[in-house]
């Protein structure tokens, strides 16, 4: 009996002690620590370069702030989904965000991004390459700070162009690329998967004809006008259709992304490929590991993105990452200070060498160290100057998804019908008349 009365008392004592301990732990966690303010940087996956920069800038700030990174999902649309949800919910932890350029207008329009202070804008964009700068703007204002910029080159096998007798110092057209592959029964490295890369490709084909997919990208959804139902759209679709119907991208084109097209290009049937510069570092690494033939690297050359018209300069795709600050961040001033550190030209150069992502700053290309690792750095800089962003509109996701649905599989693309259908589809979706 005595025992049964004693147990609850002891239980209460233990519970009280436990509660006090838990409260102490919680309170110590909630209370302001003595250290500097912590800035959270939401980063896209890379080879550890952004984490290293966070560390470097934390040290350089001499105690003014500390940057911790938080990893976003692997693909750009999923990164956008997470960031948009957090921003819409007024998440104050979004101090710095690595943003893919096409999704910036959607976040800037409702005021989710903190305005870039004039002096920061001036200092961080004084030598930014034209294409990269265009991708950081919305409504003629700089809403993010360009960090690194990406673009595509035409990669080719020296042995193939030699046999075809092509002069790669001269601009190359898609027609030449297709004809060479047909003549030599080789395959082309393009991205035919239903994904963002499809829009990247189509946009480059349209922009290379001095036109844009949207006639008025800054208009509200119901008033947006598309340009695909035109001669320009037909010619763009013709290139895709030709490659699809002739099976020039191989039987696996429907699931071919950037990585798969690189593997195809590295194989015996590889001839040409349009792709981002990561393929250079990846192919070198494969050669060193013995995964591909050691002589393959010497057989690879690069040139500017293919032209659609022989007389019109190509407009290569534009990618990369810009840095934005959340409107609800409590550390905006420090966040911009940290961004200035992150995008310093020397840091961009280092990031290029270690992670393979090209700088957006022209000065960053002056470092002679680049030449050893990236002998095509000058070609990348030239391509970035000519690069054209994808449609800059808050409704980019709808437009891109509609394009992906209509232009895949590429074997089903028709130069006459697909652009017209895509135009009508986009307009109906934007007016809320049908689902996507």
């Amino acid at each position: 009996m005595g025992e049964s009365q004693g147990s609850p008392r002891r239980g209460r004592t233990v519970r009280a002690a436990g509660t006090a301990l838990a409260a102490a732990i919680l309170l110590s966690g909630c209370s302001d620590s003595e250290g500097p303010p912590v800035l959270t940087w939401y980063i896209n996956p890379d080879d550890g370069g952004q984490a290293a920069l966070a560390q470097l800038c934390t040290e350089e700030s001499e105690g003014a702030y500390s940057i911790q990174t938080s990893l976003l999902p692997a693909d750009a649309p999923s990164q956008r989904e997470q960031l948009a949800r957090r921003l819409a919910a007024n998440d104050a932890s979004l101090d710095i965000m690595s943003l893919d350029p096409p999704f910036i207008p959607e976040l800037a329009e409702p005021g989710f991004l903190a305005p870039v202070p004039d002096e920061v804008a001036e200092r961080t964009t004084e030598d930014t390459l034209e294409g990269a700068l265009a991708g950081a703007m919305w409504n003629d204002e700089l809403v993010t700070v360009p960090f690194w910029a990406n673009t595509q080159l035409l990669w080719y096998r020296e042995s193939v162009v030699e046999e075809a007798g092509l002069d790669m110092d001269e601009p190359i057209t898609w027609e030449q690329v297709i004809d060479t592959a047909l003549e030599q029964e080789k395959l082309l490295g393009v991205q035919g998967i239903r994904a963002e890369s499809m829009t990247v490709w189509l946009n480059a084909l349209v922009e290379s004809q001095d036109e844009s997919i949207l006639a008025n990208p800054e208009a509200p959804a119901a008033e947006l006008q598309t340009n695909l139902d035109s001669e320009v759209g037909s010619r763009a679709a013709e290139v895709i259709s030709m490659i699809g119907s002739e099976g020039l991208a191989g039987p696996g084109v429907a699931s071919m992304d950037e990585n798969q097209s690189m593997l195809l290009f590295q194989g015996d049937e590889g001839s040409f490929m349009v792709n981002w510069p990561f393929v250079w570092a990846a192919t070198n690494a494969s050669a060193e590991e013995g995964v591909v033939d050691a002589g393959l690297v010497d057989d690879i050359g690069w040139a500017q993105y293919p032209r659609v018209d022989a007389d019109t300069a190509s407009a290569p795709p534009l990618g990369g990452i810009n840095l934005g600050v959340g409107a609800d961040s409590e550390n905006q001033e420090l966040a911009f200070e940290a961004i200035e550190c992150i995008v310093a030209p020397e840091n961009q150069t280092e990031y290029f060498i270690t992670n393979g992502n090209p700088p957006s700053s022209e000065a960053a290309y002056d470092d002679p160290a680049l030449e050893d690792d990236y002998p095509m750095a000058d070609a990348i800089r030239e391509a970035l100057d000519n690069a054209a962003p994808r449609p800059q509109t808050p409704f980019y996701n709808e437009i891109s998804t509609a394009i992906q649905q209509e232009f895949t599989p590429i074997s089903g693309v028709s130069a006459e019908q697909t652009p017209t259908q895509t135009d009508a589809f986009i307009v109906e979706v934007l007016r809320g008349e049908r689902l996507l």
Binding site: A88, F112, R194, A254, S255, P394
Partner: protein, 336 residues
């Protein structure tokens, strides 16, 4: 040992209690005051079931109500200022879209019907094997059969995807001798082949679930009935159709209903393998893409509500027309 007078006293006490309960029930039926015991039992019932009831209300009823409310608005997460009440316009847009909505509904129904039918046949076979298996291997056999069901759907979807992927898969290589399969076959580029792989993965993954439910049904069939049928000279087929299956009807219908509801909400396999390409979009994926991908909360909620209504309809059809009795053999049926 219990003595005779004690037994008699206990019987009297029980009879008195039963009579008391009956009169109490009558009084309740007439709207008169309940006994203290009935009250305390009701209170105990609430204490035991109440927390679960309120948690269920919070995690299911509230989101459903919120989705129904949101579906009446034109609301995009990235333009909160443009939110406007549109009443049933979202539903009109969805129901008038033959290319996306009705196509997705058609694919969903196809997947549901085919997978449930195939799983029922395979599951019954597996249940028979498990039921008849020797005692020594029964445990190992049941575990082996249940392994696919224990694998997370996303993981199994990736496994099936990589098996059939034209770049990394081995299926084209292994089954190159089958007419129609060669190294150039991209399973995920065409509707027919893509939906076949999706359904095969779904069947492989969830057949054990049906087998388990049917095994429980088989165990409920009295051995005497089967023995009697055998003695009467019934063939194996007659034993099945006249004795075993009729006695398992409740278990079969519960298995079909649960799997049909599950199959109708298929998401993971399609999301991983095709992401809706090649005409394989299903309703759950459409709801996800609209709400999460497009951030169109209003329209996406309307798709979710329609999906919910479809699921309710399946339940209704099963319970009303096929007389599925979910409370069979439980106290919820009043102990009958």
């Amino acid at each position: 040992m219990t003595t005779a007078p004690e037994t008699s006293r206990r019987q009297k006490r029980e009879a008195a209690e039963a009579s008391n309960n009956k009169s109490s029930a009558r009084r309740n039926g007439n709207g008169t005051k309940r006994t203290n015991r009935a009250k305390s039992e009701a209170r105990l019932g609430w204490l035991i079931a109440g927390p679960a009831f309120f948690i269920m209300l919070a995690v299911t009823a509230y989101p459903i109500a919120q989705a129904i409310y949101d579906s009446l608005f034109s609301f995009r997460l990235t333009s909160p200022d443009d939110r406007s009440f549109v009443f049933l316009q979202n539903y009109m847009t969805i129901l008038s879209d033959t290319e996306v909505f009705w196509s997705a509904l058609g694919v969903t129904v196809l997947v549901t019907v085919v997978t449930v039918a195939v799983e029922l046949v395979l599951g019954f076979g597996l249940a028979l094997v498990m039921h008849k298996a020797l005692l020594r291997i029964r445990g190992a056999l049941r575990t082996a059969i249940l392994v696919p069901y224990g694998i997370i759907t996303v993981v199994s979807a990736f496994a099936w995807y990589y098996m059939f992927d034209i770049n990394s898969g081995f299926v084209n290589n292994w089954f190159g001798w089958v007419p129609g399969i060669d190294s150039d076959l991209d399973w995920f580029a065409n509707f027919g082949t893509a939906i076949t792989v999706i359904m095969a993965s779904e069947i492989w993954k969830t057949t054990p679930f049906i087998a388990l439910l049917l095994l429980a049904g088989l165990a409920q069939v009295p051995d005497e009935l089967v023995e009697a049928a055998k003695v009467d000279g019934a063939s194996w087929r007659q034993q099945m159709t006249r004795v075993i299956l009729p006695n398992m009807k409740a278990a079969i219908m519960v298995a079909v209903l649960f799997r049909a509801l599950d199959a109708f909400r298929i998401f993971d396999n399609v999301f991983i393998m095709t992401n809706g390409a090649a005409g394989t979009e299903v309703l759950s994926l459409l709801a996800y893409r609209t709400s999460i991908g497009r951030l169109e909360i209003g329209l996406g909620s309307a798709v979710s509500v329609i999906l919910f209504i479809c699921v309710l309809l399946i339940c209704l059809i099963a319970i009303k027309f096929f007389k599925v009795d979910l409370a069979s053999g439980t106290d919820a049926k009043g102990g009958k």
